[in-house]
């Protein structure tokens, strides 16, 4: 009998903390999202069904943020995967200074995302920042380009910074994948006359797949949850806002708790789809 309750006793603190600070709020947010609830009108809080959701999908501002979110998501996933894989191949080469290279490679991951945004703000600064100095020095442009001043270049810069911070994790996941493949496989393939292309396609890729799945899903989650970098690069302006920023502004600047909650739930819907893939990819490895 004692044995049966022990595991629950051990889990109790975690269940308590997660229950009160994570699961209860998630459910509460949903109930808020079905209410008319503005802090500016505290006397007038009542159930309105899915009206908040309908208002949101009819607003241009939502679709603007949605496009931004998707832009960041697609860009970040593609380039993080590509460069993460390349950096992993690079770090896989054994040289005297491998240790130093590894340390440097995890720096972008270890630093506060807000500070990362600040670092890159100096590089892409719209006046005479690093990149503009470089472009002018090379004669590519005669006057500074406003990278942070127009929508698409700003989104590009935000995405680049997020890619930069996400590469280390992706690279290490790929590195773990590569190192899990027995060297014999490559030797056998070479003996049988396999070309590098064939080896990549029939050995490296299939065996790396579960690792890439973890890397890509976790990068996608990072990409839709970007916040700090956007604040660092463009403040709380509307130009580069994603849905998360829109939900933050709706809730805490315009004090519309109902609508802000509904907006969050829309982001969460996408996050949960990714979450299911994430769980699957994490659990798949348990079997092998």
């Amino acid at each position: 009998m004692k044995k049966k309750i022990l595991p629950y006793l051990l889990l109790a603190p975690m269940i308590l903390i997660m229950g009160v600070l994570v699961f209860y709020p998630i459910i509460a947010t949903f109930s808020y999202s079905l209410k008319k609830w503005k802090l500016t009108a505290p006397g007038d809080i009542h159930f309105i069904g899915i009206k908040n959701y309908l208002d949101i999908i009819q607003s241009d501002s939502f679709w603007y943020s949605m496009q931004n979110t998707l832009f960041i998501l697609v860009f970040v996933v593609i380039f993080t995967t590509l460069f993460g894989y390349l950096v992993a191949s690079f770090l896989n080469v054994d040289v005297k200074w491998s240790g130093i290279l590894l340390s440097l490679s995890i720096l972008p991951w270890a630093l506060p995302p807000y500070v990362n945004g600040v670092l890159w703000k100096f590089v892409f600064f719209s006046g005479y920042g690093f990149l503009n100095k470089l472009l002018i020095g090379l004669g590519i442009t005669s006057k500074p380009i406003e990278f942070l001043g127009s929508r698409w270049t700003l989104l590009l810069v935000i995405s680049i910074v997020v890619v930069w911070r996400s590469i280390p994790f992706m690279a290490l996941v790929c590195l773990a994948g590569r190192q899990s493949i027995p060297v014999d496989f490559y030797e056998a393939a070479k003996m049988d006359g396999g070309t590098p292309g064939m080896i990549f396609r029939y050995i490296t890729m299939p065996l790396m797949k579960p690792f890439l799945a973890v890397g890509i899903t976790s990068t996608s989650v990072t990409a839709i949850n970007v916040f700090d970098e956007i604040v660092a690069l463009s403040g709380y302006s509307d130009l580069g806002k994603n849905i998360l920023m829109e939900s933050y502004l709706t809730t805490f600047t315009f004090l519309n708790f109902g609508k802000g909650s509904a907006m969050t739930y829309i982001v969460m819907f996408f996050a949960l789809i990714l979450g299911v893939f994430y769980l699957r990819s994490l659990n798949r490895e348990v079997e092998y």
């Binding site: 629950y8 603190p13 975690m14 997660m18 509460a28 950096v87 290279l101 506060p112 973890v214 969460m268």
Partner: protein, 278 residues
């Protein structure tokens, strides 16, 4: 062919260094450039003279310098509380999840894990209300507890994967020799798990040092707000001193950068552990 390969590797190293270290070097240059020269209309990369005035302002007890160090101190306090609460709880849960069979094990594990993908905004609105009602806003303890709730799933997942690699026989042998379950844990499992505990400790430290969005909403007083928020306020206040922001950024980077350099091995095994079983 061999030369081509070597040249390619060196080229890759140079590109890697430019893109990894470049932003730090550039920000450092900005931090020692006199204010008037920072964005002077010239394509020259290096300033004609250098100054440490920004660092002096930061370290010599000016109003902004004090705010910055107060923020660093607040961040550190949150790190302390997060670790003291987070690590033991993560270990208890990890032990139950990896070493015991009980009803609902899989469901509980998956429910915890899936919260890792949920955006901060999905929990923060009710938390804000709860904290406001309970007078828990602007309180480092409660703030840290919210951090803990966001780290526990990853932490207990990493630790339980590690526990699973320790042979059950070791524990059983100790129990046959008369140890209770508790004693077997402290004498056998705990000493063997030192590496993963260090990994998780470091990851929690770095995550707490990075916090921005949660304290933005739950901690707005001088007494509680962390470093990143203080730096962000340098950016939005009436006069923007870029040199000072650069100097503050460089200073705030020192703890995590040192950690990454000194404890590379543990951080990397922790990060890889998040993707690889055991």
């Amino acid at each position: 062919m061999k030369y081509a390969k070597k040249a390619g590797y060196y080229l890759a190293t140079i590109l890697f260094l430019i893109f990894t270290v470049g932003p730090f070097v550039w920000t450092f240059i900005i931090s020692v450039t006199p204010d008037y020269a920072i964005f002077a209309p010239t394509s020259k990369m290096l300033p004609e003279s250098i100054t440490f005035a920004n660092y002096v302002e930061l370290f010599s007890g000016s109003r902004r310098g004090n705010a910055f160090f107060k923020g660093m101190y607040n961040s550190m306090r949150a790190v302390g509380i997060t670790l003291v609460i987070g690590i033991p709880i993560a270990m208890m849960s990890a032990y139950a999840l990896s070493r015991m069979e009980f009803k609902g094990r899989k469901v509980i594990k998956n429910l915890f894990l899936i919260t890792m993908v949920i955006p901060v905004m999905a929990t923060i609105i009710p938390l804000y209300r709860m904290f406001a009602a309970g007078k828990m806003l602007d309180n480092i303890f409660w703030l840290s507890l919210v951090y803990v709730s966001s780290y526990l799933p990853m932490a207990s997942w990493l630790i339980s994967n590690y526990f699973a690699t320790i042979p059950k026989e070791l524990e059983e042998a100790a129990m046959i020799d008369g140890c209770g379950r508790g004693a077997a844990f402290f004498r056998i499992i705990l000493p063997l798990s030192r590496p993963i505990i260090l990994s998780v400790t470091l990851i929690m430290f770095l995550n707490t040092w990075s916090q921005f969005q949660i304290p933005l909403i739950l901690a707005s007083s001088m007494e509680t707000k962390p470093m990143a928020i203080v730096v962000s306020e340098f950016m939005t206040k009436d006069s923007i001193q870029y040199g000072l922001i650069a100097a503050a950024g460089m200073t705030a980077l020192i703890p995590p950068a040192l950690t990454a350099m000194l404890f590379r091995k543990y951080l990397i095994s922790g990060m890889m552990g998040g993707s690889v079983k055991g």
